[in-house]
């Protein structure tokens, strides 16, 4: 699994940092998303998908196939 983001669309609502703090944070400079781990370990994959669903601006894309294993 691989996490991709389109930072230009981010509005800093923080759904990602709230619901998947192991994978996402918000920058102190602009409040926008920062990916902490773009290849989440298996135990965190459901959180990556949750963040993808909750992001109100379709910033987060989870690519299932890439780099699996």
């Amino acid at each position: 699994m691989r996490i991709r983001i389109d930072r230009g669309r981010c509005q800093g609502a923080g759904q990602c940092a709230l619901n998947a703090p192991e994978l996402f944070d918000q920058s102190d400079d602009d409040g926008l998303v920062v990916v902490l781990d773009d290849r989440p370990p298996p135990a965190l994959r459901h959180k990556a998908r949750l963040a993808e669903q909750l992001c109100p601006n379709s910033v987060i894309r989870v690519l299932e196939a890439e780099d699996d294993g």
């Binding site: 509005q11 940092a17 709230l18 944070d25 918000q26 602009d30 409040g31 909750l54 109100p56 601006n57």
Partner: protein, 406 residues
């Protein structure tokens, strides 16, 4: 599922509630039979009402729908437009990208998850102080007056740098702005008073800056900032209004809901680990932005099988969406053990609530502390005598008389 054809007979927005915690009667049928229906506005125009979760999310993500409400119809009698009034400068809630983006970027870093978590000790202190005061006064008390209204007001005042001592004024103006059927002249007077108040505060902050948000925006080193006094005034008043009015109603109405669902209150008291779930579930279940979120079609749009014409107003009912059985199992049950993270009580898309992490911190500090301090907390009047805010733009209760064993 195919979309049933919209009714040929436009109806006004349903507003009569059977149960104080459920959306007004009629939304359930609309969502099932006519999820995209024609809506008759009080100004005589005809637009659209969306009630399904997927449709509401789709419209709020779609940039072809504008947030500039100057030419929108209001689904309830509120927010009269005065001839010659310019759009409020800096008030990003009524702007579209890229203009919206500029202002949102200036304030986003002030409301991040981490920053709001950093406020937790201060918020918990404020909550404890108000609980102490309730104990000193003794039962019965009006929980709105003693707890729900002051806490978010004090928090947002400290965050912005607004003198808390002046709250009576801005709370009164906000109430006037958000009351339905309020005479136009009185709304205009409140609008002007709030504007003048914030305008003079901005002038003061230019002379005597402090560490709080308004001053920081004025003295920001960010070259893109450079906000005019007009913009600062508009942005400041938006943050002040949105920051105290909404959370106050969630605290009071949420407590009312918990008192009427004692098994849920019991779970909250005994399972502190569920507090985050409880907050999301109360946001979903109660959806206090009761009349939905308004957008205007910038062009003719084919949307989920209907044709929405340029200039038509669309009301996205987040309250109905949050009760959509296709998204939430047993949507009409309050169940604080469920994961309700997908609710859209804070909206969706670029305008999704800027202050949501602050609101969450206030609620997660507020509810458990209240129920732990007063384990015997109960209503001091029959539930059907609690005055509901059917007449206000933001739903809640006007008063919540409570008592406990002292």
């Amino acid at each position: 599922m195919s979309v049933a054809s919209p009714t040929p007979f436009p109806a006004p927005l349903p507003t009569r509630r059977g149960c104080p915690f459920d959306p007004p009667d009629g939304y359930g049928e609309l969502r099932r039979d006519r999820p995209i229906s024609r809506l008759a506005f009080p100004d005589g125009k005809i637009g659209w009402l969306l009630t399904r979760y997927e449709d509401v999310r789709a419209v709020l993500e779609d940039v072809r729908f504008s947030s500039d409400r100057r030419h929108a119809s209001s689904p309830v009698r509120a927010f009269p437009v005065r001839d010659g009034d310019p759009r409020i400068p800096g008030s990003l809630i009524g702007m579209d990208p890229p203009e919206h983006t500029r202002y949102r970027r200036l304030v986003t870093r002030w409301f991040t998850v981490r920053r709001m978590r950093g406020l937790a000790p201060r918020i918990e202190r404020i909550v404890a102080d108000h609980l102490d005061a309730m104990e000193r006064t003794g039962p019965p008390v009006d929980l709105v007056e003693a707890f729900a209204r002051p806490i978010p007001s004090l928090v947002i005042c400290e965050l912005l740098g607004v003198p808390y001592a002046e709250r009576a004024d801005f709370q009164r103006w906000t109430a006037t702005l958000f009351r339905l059927d309020e005479p136009k002249e009185s709304v205009y007077a409140a609008r002007d008073a709030l504007w003048d108040y914030m305008r003079s505060l901005v002038t003061v902050k230019r002379q005597l800056p402090d560490d709080a948000l308004l001053s920081q925006l004025i003295h920001s080193e960010d070259p893109s900032a450079g906000l005019t006094n007009q913009e600062l005034t508009g942005l400041g008043q938006l943050l002040l209004i949105a920051g105290h009015e909404t959370t106050a109603n969630m605290l009071a109405l949420g407590t009312f809901a918990l008192l009427c669902h004692p098994e849920q209150a019991h779970t909250l008291r005994t399972r502190p680990d569920l507090v985050d779930n409880a907050v999301e579930e109360l946001l979903r279940y109660l959806t206090i932005v009761q009349f939905g979120v308004v957008r205007v079609a910038r062009e003719d749009i084919e949307f989920a099988g209907v044709r929405i014409l340029q200039g038509e107003t669309v009301v996205a009912s987040i309250a109905a969406a949050n009760r959509d059985p296709e998204r939430f199992a047993d949507p009409d049950e309050l169940d604080i053990t469920r994961s309700a993270a997908h609710h859209i009580a804070f909206g969706h898309g670029v305008h999704q609530c800027l202050g949501q992490q602050l609101a969450r911190m206030e609620m997660r500090a507020g509810y458990p502390a209240l129920f732990q301090r007063f384990p015997s907390l109960r209503l001091a009047v029959p539930a059907d005598q609690v005055p509901l805010r059917d007449d206000m733009f933001i739903y809640g209760v006007h008063r919540l008389p409570v008592t406990w064993q002292g």
